[in-house]
Amino acid sequence: MALLRCRGLRKEFAGHVVLDRLDLTVAEHRVVALIGASGSGKSTLLRCVNLLEEVDDGTIELDGEDISDPRVDADRVRRRIGMVFQAYNLFPHLSVLDNITLAPRRVHGRARAEAEAQARDLLDRVGLGAKAHAYPDALSGGQQQRVAIVRALANSPRLMLLDEVTSALDPELVGEVLTMIRDLKADGMTMVLATHEMGFAREVADEVCFLDAGRVVESGPPEQVLGEPTQARTRQFLRRIIEAGRL
């Protein structure tokens, strides 16, 4: 069954159409990579799914529930969705541990001890156990992004949205974050990730969607979309990526 189903999504900002009758279906335990040029609507799509933006038309269903219905409690929906941002967005005034336990404690009402034990367990698993009491500014970009992923995971989400999570990282720090996403896939996490890392999309994604001007122009298995694209615009985009040396 589809965990996430977007139908005919439309979003415009001040007359500029960012999402244009966009359809996307994500089955449970599947990883979908969104590729496309900057401004093609990847981030907006993720923000709409997380109800951070209101769609101007179309429906979004999560677990069969229409979450684009204004009567839906957005806070309850977001508890089931984890989101990781390009710029990490950790809370600078809170330690790593407090960043991770904030939502479990305040949103899910867990006891501090229980939430911290879970957070430490997650941190140990990604090799950041020693950083529990550090503040975000004292960490490298890669470490911050891994903490941000752990923070989203602490909510035990049904779906993870990853918005260009490696774009702000130095090349040598990208690997540690990608390893973590690979492990998430192995655990069966359903993910939608916007990315510029074509090699990674090919490796980790079950399906690649090429977005252009707010629409899914082409989608399918990574070998097909990245290897033998049928659409002219996909070929053009991939050619530019190859020229930039990122494939």
């Binding site: 977001r78 941002f85 967005n89 005034h93 904030l102 939502a103 503040y135 500014d137 004292a138």
Partner: protein, 281 residues
């Protein structure tokens, strides 16, 4: 692994020696110019033709000692008023600032009221607010009317609440929208986001200007004496009228400065601590 012993190169030694010479020179120049200016000032003031008269009427130790108990009594009123009014104004300012950030048409009346409040009380001179509350309100002869002191304190809270609300609002707006997005994406409600993510960052950022306003408030609490209660400055004024000597004013002034020092020191400490905690880890 131990770091290898490092022997500075000849070029580095020359650079270090040059920097040492330069800083020594700067220190000497600064010390000399400060001493010269200080001497000049002392000579100019004490050598002035009217110096003896001024010293008698502003710096008479005997009159100062006589006035001290009354001025201290008045200062105690200042301190009590300051603590209550600062707490009240900070709370009011915070509430108003948060109300002004609420979005959506439902909150329009609340936003409009909050904005109207800050416009009115930042524009209205404190003395007029004081007169209106301490002279006008008791004129209504309502039952259970609080004392003039409480009404005066209320005038201070209303006026300073307006200033502090704008400082808080600046702090709230300085928190990047991505922080809100991150908090909401975790399922936190708007209230929880404000309480746990936005306000802690906002308040830390604006702590210095907030405490700056509290220092200003410390001097303005004395204005309640316009309505009767005797504060330090009023006590000094009474003592001056009795002795025809201005020394009590100087005594009050020195006491005010002494009172401000701990507050200013706290401001610096708070700023330093939060900066260190966030970057140090």
């Amino acid at each position: 692994m131990t770091p290898r012993e490092h022997t500075p190169s000849a070029a580095q030694l020359r650079r270090s020696a040059y920097r040492r010479r330069q800083s020594l020179r700067s220190v000497l120049i600064a010390a000399f110019s400060t001493a010269a200016l200080g001497t000049l000032l002392v000579v100019a003031v004490t050598g002035a033709p009217g110096w003896d008269r001024v010293r008698q009427s502003f710096l008479d130790p005997e009159i100062g000692a006589d006035a001290l108990p009354a001025v201290l009594d008045g200062l105690w009123l200042n301190v009590r008023l300051l603590v209550c009014c600062a707490a009240g104004a900070l709370l009011l300012g915070l509430v108003i600032a948060v109300l002004r950030t609420l979005r959506g048409p439902v909150f329009f009346p609340v936003r409009a009221l909050a904005a109207g409040y800050t416009y009115t009380f930042r524009g209205l001179p404190l003395i007029i607010v004081l007169y209106l509350l301490t002279l006008g309100v008791p004129g209504l002869r309502l039952r259970g009317m609080p004392s003039v002191l409480v009404l005066g304190g209320l005038a201070l809270v209303l006026t300073y609440g307006g200033y502090l609300a704008e400082v808080f609002r600046a702090g709230i707006e300085s928190v990047h929208p991505s922080q809100l997005a991150a908090a909401r994406s975790l399922g936190l409600t708007y209230r929880q986001t404000m309480r746990h993510v936005v306000l802690p960052q906002a308040v830390r950022r604006v702590a210095p200007p907030l405490l700056n306003d509290v220092v200003a408030l410390q001097k303005d609490v004395g204005l309640v004496s316009l309505a009767g209660p005797i504060d330090a400055v009023r006590a000094a004024q009474i003592a001056t009228a009795q002795s025809f000597n201005y020394t009590p004013y100087v005594v009050a002034g020195v006491l005010f400065v002494l009172l401000a020092i701990p507050l200013i020191a706290v401001t610096d400490w708070v700023t330093l601590r939060s900066a260190r905690r966030q970057s140090g880890g």
